[in-house]
């Protein structure tokens, strides 16, 4: 199953509203998402897509945008 960008944005909006996830590419660099939000995303990815994000993949590059997160989730889903 491919995880779409819309799915990821929907998940992110559930964690933190009022963020333009389609445009923002500095979610971590600008402190839009903090470490607690990241863990909520890890948990949501587990629940909603059955994808386990390991600690080593929790990097700013993977969480700075919805698109990067979508790519990460698809990569991890493929690896499984």
């Amino acid at each position: 199953m491919d995880i779409t960008l819309d799915d990821v944005i929907e998940m992110l909006e559930d964690i933190q509203e009022d963020v333009d996830y389609e445009e923002c590419v500095t979610l971590i660099d600008d402190g839009v998402l903090d470490s607690f939000d990241i863990l909520a995303i890890v948990s949501a990815a587990d629940d909603e897509f059955e994808v386990t994000i390991p600690a080593k993949d929790i990097t700013p590059e993977n969480f700075n945008s919805a698109e990067a997160l979508c790519a990460l989730l698809n990569r991890l889903a493929d690896e499984d």
């Binding site: 607690f36 863990l39 600690a55």
Partner: protein
Amino acid sequence: MRYGLANCTIILCPSYSYPLKAYRLELLSLQFACFLTALLAIYYAFGRIAPRVQWVVLLVGSIVFYGIVGTWPLLSFMLVTALSTWLGARKLAGLSEQAKQARKEAKGRDEKKAVKARYVRKRRWVLFAVFAVCLGMLGYLKYWNTILFNIGLAESTTSLGIVLPLGISFYMFASLGYVLEVYNEKLAPEGNFVRFFLFISWFPQVIQGPINRFAEMSSQLFASRGPSWVGMRRGLLRLCYGLLKKYAIANVLVGNYRAIIGPADGTTSAPVVIIGILLYSFQMYADFSGGIDIVEGVSELFGVEMAQNFRQPYFSTSLANFWRRWHMSLGHWMKNYVFYPLAVCGPMRELNRRATKLLGKQTGRTISACISNIIVFFVVGLWHGAELHFIAWGLYNGIMIALADLFAPVFERIGKRLHIQRESVPFHAFAILRTFAVVAVGRYFDCIESVAVGLACLKATVTNFVPLSTVQPQLEALGVTSPNTLGFETVALWALAVVFVVDVLYERGHDVRTELMCLRLPVRIAIYLACGTIFAFSLRFSLGQGEAFMYANY
């Protein structure tokens, strides 16, 4: 033999917890000025003569520095750390390659999985061995005596005479961070041990950090370069700013803070305890961040920018925010290598699932973060020392952050009901003051070396009210100088005003150093003269006392 401003030297010694041995580093002395000038001259001369091996000058300079300041035998601990982490990282990378090859050759999904599992186990053993060597060494040097003392097998926390090598926690954490990056396959291992040893021994970082990352440092340390006058001026400005903080604030306030906090107990009046904690809060910030400014400035003279360690922490709007601005390099280390691995490990995920079912999505998903955070701060407390008060201080911070996160939705609802504009200036100011107070409460367990006395002082703060007219005589009786200004010497107040203005400018996004260098010459001279005068007046407080950096020798 000492030269020049001998009485205004800084002696690096183990912090107040480890008064075992004094390391002499005379930053404001002719010796250090000569060392730095000679090293800079040789380094930039090599940039012209032999640019490929220019970095060797930094290595030799760092070893000489450590040999003189930290004494030669203690260099062996650094050598063992470097060797074990370098070899471990190479082994990890080798196993990683072997695993890829073996997986290619394996047939079928099950066999591939079995190969992967075998190599994961092997790599974990290597990682465990490296950690056992490094943390075993750190544990023995830093905690063994205190543990024996606590179980009644040693006369005091220093009776075994174990000497803690200068900067061991900083270079140890930097090395372990390097191994973990290689383990996570985020970094290729360095093939040349000598080059790796420069990363570990880089002399500005061994004094009191920051905890640098190999990926960010290697390209800078091994690059060949000529002198950049703009870069050197920036470095010099930072160095001088650090000296101003250290001499005109930290060294000036330290006597008064000790005069109050030393004898403080449950009978001390509330205003006096509060003044003591305030003095400590500003003294410690000036000491630690000033020391970091000095070493960052020195490093920048060589064109090497180290990790940022402070970002105006006293303008934080929450305790979590404070810890993202204070000792940032340790925070990054803990977040990447302790917090996330703990928070997303199997048992935590399971706990999250159960908590979500039981308590709902918001609370359930916060649980693992809260528990991991408390553990991280417990480790941070332990990092500061094995004494109970450090652990209490760490746990206080962890629990407060966890509670703030758990109750965040409640606070939000209350705020909406009370029509509080969270983005407004008054609320922002309130949040800064509230955070300062929350941090200050934690300081009771940090600077008072007994948990019981710390709690008694905390109780005194909210119960032992006295008429304000009696505060000044109380301060005088304790031997506090300048009781009229509540222990804050005038020269320190001027220096604090400078630091406040600089911090406000940084907070508003200004690049203070660049803007300062662009000012017209007369304005610049006026600013330098004003700061120089404050600095000169402050020197009388340092006469006859070589005051240690609090974070040296952690």
